[in-house]
């Protein structure tokens, strides 16, 4: 019998810096500043919850919005298993889309934000306020698939991105229900109490977006909104070939910024908060920093948009226990040949009924 219990966790501390010491001048591998910042980061893993709350073809831009962020976080290293993507309607395979399986951020078709390997966790009618709140608070129904759960912990940095149609104090879901800013604040408070995040970056692109973070009281939350209360968020441009607006202004410039970010980039969240000045966004980007204890200008952007693990540098000897080698080597002698048997198939049609 195989010993199944012999599964062991192999913990390998990165020795990257050790190799850096050999070539002390080569800072391109891991910049010193980054290492410092990363060491000050307190998270151990990254999660992203990306929500497009609006349905119907004319809201194409909201799907493009959410997919822009999805594309960036995926490119910067958050695996699909840690991205919860909610899209309320299907744009890529919509009958009105002349380019099936593709969603662009730009009329010139610069970036196919839908990509070739997207995984949408909640789609269509599944995108409801109830499911969203259940997801955040971890109170999903019994039997919910693992990929539909936010399995974050006290060491998780969580990025929440919302887009849709909103108003003062609410965001519409599917044109039939709303989540209020109070519900959002309560959900996040519950996340904090349940130790479901370490730091939370809340990003919202909708009209009067700043009203959504007003009620937050939970610690370690940094929030950015595309417009202040009383302001509309505007779309960027229209694509005449599909007849609808492509993307919203704020997310368009956010994606433009994120496209330049590489996994070991020195860009900070502070820079990201300034991506869309009023001159280009037309609306005023709102930021709420009072709940956040770190200086955004010292926080690498990959703390929220990437999955860079903090690295502990050790120059001492480290004992690494490897799993039992036998488990990985296939032993042909141990193999029990299974005896073949005759398979008799059942009749596929109840012909006896027609006699």
């Amino acid at each position: 019998m195989f010993n199944i219990m012999l599964v062991k966790f192999v913990v390998i501390y990165a020795l990257i810096l050790a190799s850096c010491r050999v070539e002390a001048d080569d800072t391109s591998v891991l910049p010193e500043g980054f290492v410092d910042a990363a060491q000050r980061s307190t998270h151990t893993n990254n999660w992203a919850v990306l929500v497009d709350a609006s349905r119907f073809w004319f809201n194409y831009r909201h799907v493009a919005n959410v997919l822009s962020i999805y594309r960036s976080v995926k490119r910067l290293g958050i695996p699909d298993s840690q991205i919860i993507l909610m899209i309320a309607d299907d744009m890529a395979c919509n009958a009105r889309n002349p380019r099936p399986g593709q969603v662009y951020n730009n009329a010139n078709q610069h970036i196919n934000v839908y990509g070739d390997d997207v995984e949408v966790d909640y789609r269509g009618y599944e995108v409801t306020v109830e499911n969203f709140v259940r997801l955040l608070t971890g109170r999903t129904q019994n039997g919910t698939a693992r990929s539909k759960k936010l399995l974050s912990d006290a060491g998780s940095n969580v990025l929440i991105y919302l887009t849709g149609h909103g108003g003062d104090g609410f965001l519409k879901f599917q044109d039939s229900e709303e989540i209020t800013s109070q519900e959002l604040a309560d959900g996040i408070q519950q996340m904090w109490e349940k130790k479901r995040y370490n730091e939370l970056f809340f990003m919202v692109d909708t009209c009067q977006a700043a009203s959504l973070y007003e009620k937050f009281t939970s610690p370690n939350v940094l929030a950015v909104a595309s417009s202040l209360v009383g302001e509309d968020s505007l779309s960027h441009h229209v694509d005449p070939s599909i007849g609808v607006y492509m993307i919203d202004r704020y997310t368009y410039y956010a994606l433009e910024f994120l496209e330049k970010v590489q996994p070991f980039s020195k860009r900070t969240i502070g820079e990201f908060l300034q991506v869309c000045p009023k001159r280009v966004c037309i609306s005023t980007v709102g930021v709420r920093k009072d709940l956040y204890r770190r200086d955004p200008h010292k926080v690498p952007i990959t703390d929220f948009f990437g999955a860079i693990r903090p690295t502990r540098v050790s120059t001492d000897r480290i004992n690494v226990t490897l799993a039992n080698e036998d488990d990985f080597i296939f032993d042909k002698d141990k193999m029990v040949t299974k005896k073949p048997f005759k398979i008799v198939m059942e009749s596929q049609f109840p012909s006896e009924l027609f006699k």
């Binding site: 839908y114 949408v120 599917q174």
Partner: protein, 635 residues
Amino acid sequence: MYPVAFVLLLLVAFNAGANLGRDDERFHEELVVRPLSGDHVNTYFQFTTRWHYGEKDNLYHTQLTPRVIAELLQQFAVKELHIGLTQGLWRYETWGYPIVEATSGAEMWAWFSGANLTNRDVDSQWKALANVFSGVLCASLNFVDNTNSIAPRHLIRPQFMPANGQRFVRYATLPREIVCTENLTPWKKLLPCGSASGFASLLNSGHVHNTKYHSLGLKVRVLCEDHDEDNCIVELTQTANLVYDLRLFELSNNDFSLRRLFGMGLNGYCELAESSKIYVQRNELGERYQLVPEPVHEVKTTRGGHSVVYSVYDMHEQFKEAGERLFNVAWLAPKSANRRRNLAKPSLPPVTVHRYLLGHGQERGRIVTVVTNSHYDALPIMLQEVIPWYVHAYLHTLSIRRKPQRVNEYGRQRLPFKLLHYTPGKQRELPSHLEIGFMLPGQTSALISIDVDYLLLKWLEYPPDANHGHYIGSAIVSSQLPMGRNYSALPPEGHLFEHSFNATRPSYVLSLHTEALIVSLPTPDFSMPYNVICLACTVVALAFGPIHSVATKMIIVGRQTSAPKNFVKKIFNQIFRRGKAADEAAAEGEGSPAAGAAASDATGVASARPAISPGSPSGDQPLLEDLDEEEEEQD
């Protein structure tokens, strides 16, 4: 560089031959290309993993079989599972029968069998199973529950089941489900090589969703030696069935190639695959094409009196030499005058089906299914219908009328039922489930109709896009054909496409799907409550003022001593009364404060004011000012 690549390839070839040292688990990949009529091309991918795992404990060590499938067998008492995710409609009349059947949207059914399994256990396992695959395939299969699932009685049969023990089946469709890249991505991840190499590398989302019809299938079945579960085989078959319309490629001629269809050539075979073959149909509509490169092998298969010729490209041979980079097959159409369209039609399939709705309005209708038998002999036909709970069916209206193919009208003549199974639905709990069987005479159509009522749903039961309509899933029609014309499905005992070669049997079981229907249930105007609230509030506000004023104001009738007796003077007095009244009020003050303000817009009360004013004992100036201001606002 060259020797290194050569050595690597040798190693790869060696590995493939050794099959990773495990003989009981094999993976095969197959691609079938069949030109269809009307410039369509059917490409069918089949990836098969067959694992003779023996006893259940071995399921903990998976190699080629995805872990989720192995865990499924440990967790659930499931013996057979079929899932289909499809976009588009298969046209039986012009395309013939597909290799695998599927209905538009999502379809799922499973067979359960195990010791001490009860119906309630199966219900919960079924729901859990749907939830698992909703995560695995990124589909909304979690909407599958008891309100849209049935337990088919006769039509859906298990392929293999242990003789002992009870068996249970559940079936559900979600016709609204959309199939897109997010389903293809996880589906490809279940393959041993992923999408990195082998035939799966051809399935790129942009080129898959460009098709007229695309269907992803997943089939798991467990075959065990009789009476015990210690010697079992699990088979996972993943299929992708695509129909391309060549006209969409905007070609000047009818030539096409793998690169044209899939956007790229084939980069090799999956190193874990035992076999990796492309089958190209050469007869019928494939006859006119010339293949480049020339195929080495050719297979002629005769099944039930129907012959098909396939050219075979074996990828293991093709990529034997190191020089080969990308493999491409081109179909060259003849450069003759007849170069425009491939209008040749295949022989009409023996059984075809269609379905539509009759009736008008949003209250009642009739579901009609037409089954046509163009074979010369009578055929047994079975039909399974799932009618959702928001549509009420009346069993007494169910009838099968017949018409010979030459005649235009359906006569009064009814066909007798050989089988009738009906489980009535229950509002919000169970769908109606109908299975009927009858003999359909040769060269005849049957029209099966049943009357239905549409239910008015509760407000919150409507989906966000209520005016889109609600779906009734497709019906399944099954028959048993005596001949193999147009029939290309795999025999139940086979697991590879090549097992359908020369698989002559006494009869061939055919299963077809009709179109799904969309009904517009009576949909309320969702903004009505808002409108009603606005209107009601306005009416109340307008009514409140005068009523309140009348109810609270004290009306004292006083004689106006200075009133003129003369008629002309009376009229004169009437005209100038308003100004006078204000003067008088200013002089003497107003008695009733707030009520007068609310009442000021109502003329009847205003006219009563002069009568009040003189009688009022006293009043003060500020109150009067208030009154005047409010009068201004209201105006």
